[in-house]
Symmetry: C2
């Protein structure tokens, strides 16, 4: 049984590590470290899961009124390009971001009532996907898999 739940909150260690990675990425690309980027990245890593640029912006605005939405938006794009965040679009068609490391891969269960998102990983499914691709002479480089329905809580107290 390879399926498993994932992640509670980003550990401090992971955060520092990721910030280091970002710094390398910036330097490598001739980009600059700024107070704004730092703040946005910190908040993002602490918040953790599946946030929209708008949500993150609102959260940040509470503490730092001088950081604009555009900067939050651009920083998330940057994190994505540097491989530190994944961009996700679920059924509501909003672009969400989540911290991600290179080795990490997972898919999602999405509750249609409360909106909660559960992550899972299933190697058997992944293998079968590869197999399907092979049958069609298709080379898969990524995939998207989402299950929509009702989470434990929501199906119980219906």
């Amino acid at each position: 049984m390879k399926t498993s739940g994932r992640r509670t909150t980003e550990g401090i260690k992971g955060i520092k590590q990721k910030k280091e990675k970002l710094k390398s990425f910036l330097k490598e690309k001739g980009l600059k470290s700024t107070r704004q980027r730092d703040l946005v990245v910190s908040e993002f890593l602490e918040m953790g899961e599946h946030v929209t640029a708008e949500e993150l912006y609102k959260e940040i605005s509470k503490k730092y009124s001088d950081i604009g939405f555009t900067t939050v938006y651009r920083t998330l794009k940057l994190l994505n390009k540097s491989g530190l965040a994944a961009e996700r679009v679920f059924a509501d068609n909003l672009t969400r971001y989540e911290p991600l490391s290179a080795e990490d891969h997972h898919d999602h269960l999405i509750c249609m009532k409360c909106g909660s998102i559960t992550e899972f990983q299933d190697l058997r499914i992944e293998r079968l996907q590869e197999r399907v691709a092979d049958e069609f002479g298709f080379v898969a480089v990524s995939h998207k898999m989402e299950l929509y329905g009702y989470c434990k809580k929501c199906k119980d107290n219906a």
Copy 2:
């Protein structure tokens, strides 16, 4: 090996059958049959695959200059609600429609170079998805699974 390709073109039989189903749906809901709806539905069923409202509209415009985009758009929504079409949003974030019947279910392989879309069905994967959901006490009612990569043609002449 349960995986398989699908569908060439909608048979005339299937088209007539679907048009009948739509008529029932309309009557049942107190809606009206119109020349426009008829034309849009015919063109849609003949075109077949994964079209956007815009694409279908342009195609229809060639023959019938008096049919507006809005009507095409609304007819596709209607087909969706009546269960005769599926709405799909792939990575390009455009809403596409494809003819679909109740029993039918399939997922997609999408070529990142030429954009071709291949359909597949894999019961083993579907069973495992159900299993994953169960493990989390989640009741899945639908899912989305797309594999992105390079199709046979595109990976060959790279």
